[in-house]
């Protein structure tokens, strides 16, 4: 079985400060890992993904995420937050071994960047 946990429903950060949105996962095999973002009144957009190779993945809008196999984590990070980064962020996982059709999403973390 696969699952994703986003332990924080809400993250607040001051503009210009670094931000972290946490994600841990559970799969029976090795994972494909994704981050998606949902801006207000807009659809979900792909940010970045980890498939294989370098554990540090860089994505859109200056975001990056680090795959940590021992801690089964895939935290989303950005060195300097912008007010425009305020949105709902979803982590997602798929088990590459079982090839499960379901891309399993977490419950989301609402990021608010304070000017």
């Amino acid at each position: 079985a696969q699952s994703v946990a986003q332990p924080e429903d809400q993250v607040n950060v001051a503009e210009g400060n670094p931000l972290t949105v946490k994600c841990t996962y559970s799969v029976s095999g090795n994972p494909y890992l994704f981050w998606y973002v949902q801006y207000p009144n807009r659809g979900l957009q792909f940010l970045l993904k980890y498939i294989t190779g370098d554990n540090l993945v860089k994505g859109s809008y200056g975001f990056e995420a680090e795959f940590n196999k021992s801690q089964t984590s895939f935290h989303l990070k950005k060195p300097s937050a912008l007010v425009s980064d305020s949105a709902l962020y979803f982590c997602a996982v798929r088990d590459r071994i079982t090839g499960a059709n379901n891309l399993f999403f977490g419950t989301g973390t609402r990021l608010t960047v304070i000017p």
């Binding site: 659809g43 792909f46 993904k49 379901n102």
Partner: protein, 114 residues
């Protein structure tokens, strides 16, 4: 089209009525997904289509829910005898073939069952 298109964007219906939600995926994308997003909850997987293969219906919450995909393109999600707990945003996504590929989402259909 340029992106995944869903219609209608909003649907208000009475309890017990049937509704149909439509999804037009990106041209050439062989995989199509339906998800449901309820207030304060994550995305709940409903159904998956890949090419001409049998769909994965494992996420459908009850036999009132069904979906089809005609000609490998447009998909329709049908909810029969709607209940108030069916109220949610229904999201459609498509992707190129392969489980490592990213999903492209539509803007969703906001369903309200009164």
């Amino acid at each position: 089209g340029a992106g995944v298109s869903q219609s209608p964007s909003n649907k208000v219906t009475e309890k017990g009525k049937d509704v149909e939600l439509r999804c037009d995926p990106i041209s050439g994308h062989t995989a199509l997904y339906w998800y449901r997003q309820s207030l304060g909850q994550g995305l709940e997987f409903l159904i998956y289509f890949q090419g001409n293969s049998a769909p994965d219906k494992s996420g459908l919450p009850s036999d009132r829910f069904s979906a089809e995909r005609t000609g490998g393109s447009v998909s329709t999600l049908t909810i029969q005898r709607t209940q108030q707990e069916d109220s949610a945003v229904y999201l459609c996504a498509s992707s190129e073939r392969g489980t490592s590929e990213k999903l492209f989402f539509g803007s969703g259909t906001q369903l309200s069952v009164l």
